[in-house]
Amino acid sequence: MIMRWWGNLKQRCATCSRVTLGAGVLLLTLVLGAVMLTAGAAGLAWTNTEKFCISCHEMKDNVYAEFKGTIHDVNRSGVRAICSNCHVPHEPIPLIKRKMRATLELVGHMRGVIDTKEKFEAHRYELAKRVWTRMKETDSLECRNCHHEDAMDSDKQSEKAKARHAKAKTEGKTCIDCHFGIAHKEPDGPGPQELKVVKQ
C-alpha cells in the first residue's frame, strides 16, 4: 500500500528527484508527528486541570465541595494540591494508563451512575475503596510526590506523630493507611488498614 502511494506521488511530481520527494515526506511526517504529540500532551495537561475536573457536576457538587476548605485547598503557605495531584500518577506510563481508565469512567457519567446526591452516597464507599486500593498498591505514590519522607524533620513533629510514624514504618504501613478522609468525607465501612492489598 505504501509502495503504491509512493508510486502515485512520484508520478504526480515527475520533475522532483527521489531525494527531494523523500525529504519532503519526512519533513511532513515530522511536522505532523510534532503537532500530534504537542496536541496530545496539551490535551493530557488540560484534563489535569481543576477546571476540567469540576466540569462534571458529579465531581463539583460532591468531592470538590468537600475538598473546599481542607488543608490541601487552603493553608498558611498557599501551596495547593488539586484533584490531579492526588488522583493522577505523574509518571508517563502510569499516567496514560490512568487516563485510559478514566475514559472508561465516562461511560458511567453518560449512564448517570452517580448523577444524584443519593446515588453518589450509595457508591461512595466503592469509589473510596478504589482510590485506597490504588494508593496502597503504589505505596501512596501521589502523597509522596509532594511529601518526601527524607525531607521530614522529625524534630518538628509532635511526640505522638514521631511515635506513630516509627510504628507505621515497622509495620509496613503506607500514608493512606492512616491519612484517609482528609480531603473528602470518610465513607461508612472498613478503612484502608482493613483492605488486603499487595504492594506493587
Binding site: A161, F180, G181, E186, D188, P190
Partner: protein
C-alpha cells in the same frame, strides 16, 4: 402542680429531639480542628476506637454523655500500643459544642 408535671414531661419528651437535632457539620469540623481524626475515624480501624465502636460501647448507658464529656475535656491517661499517653481535649470550652460532638459520636 399539674402544670409543673406537664412541663417536666415535655422536657423529657423533647430531650431525644434535642439530641437528634445535632449539627453534624459543626461536629465534624471541631473533631478535625481538635486533631481527633488522627487516631479515630467514624467506622474504620485506626489507633483509637472508631466512633461506631464508642457508640456501641455506650449504647443504652445513661452515663454515656457524662463519661464522654470527662474523656474529651480532662486529658485522661490512655494506653496506645501498651504505652501511656494523655488523651487530647476538644479545642473548645463551649459546652454546647462539646455536647454536639458527643451526640454526633453516640449516634454513629
Amino acid at each position: 402542680m399539674k402544670q409543673l408535671a406537664m412541663l417536666l414531661a415535655g422536657a423529657l419528651l423533647s430531650a431525644p429531639m434535642v439530641a437528634a437535632a445535632q449539627d453534624a457539620g459543626a461536629a465534624e469540623a471541631l473533631l478535625k480542628k481538635s486533631g481527633c481524626m488522627k487516631c479515630h475515624s467514624v467506622s474504620a480501624k485506626k489507633d483509637g476506637p472508631s466512633f461506631k465502636e464508642t457508640a456501641a460501647k455506650y449504647k443504652g448507658k445513661p452515663d454515656a454523655e457524662a463519661a464522654l464529656v470527662k474523656h474529651l475535656t480532662t486529658n485522661p491517661k490512655i494506653k496506645v500500643d501498651g504505652k501511656e499517653e494523655l488523651h487530647e481535649s476538644l479545642k473548645t470550652k463551649n459546652e454546647a459544642e462539646i455536647r454536639n460532638v458527643i451526640q454526633y459520636i453516640l449516634t454513629r
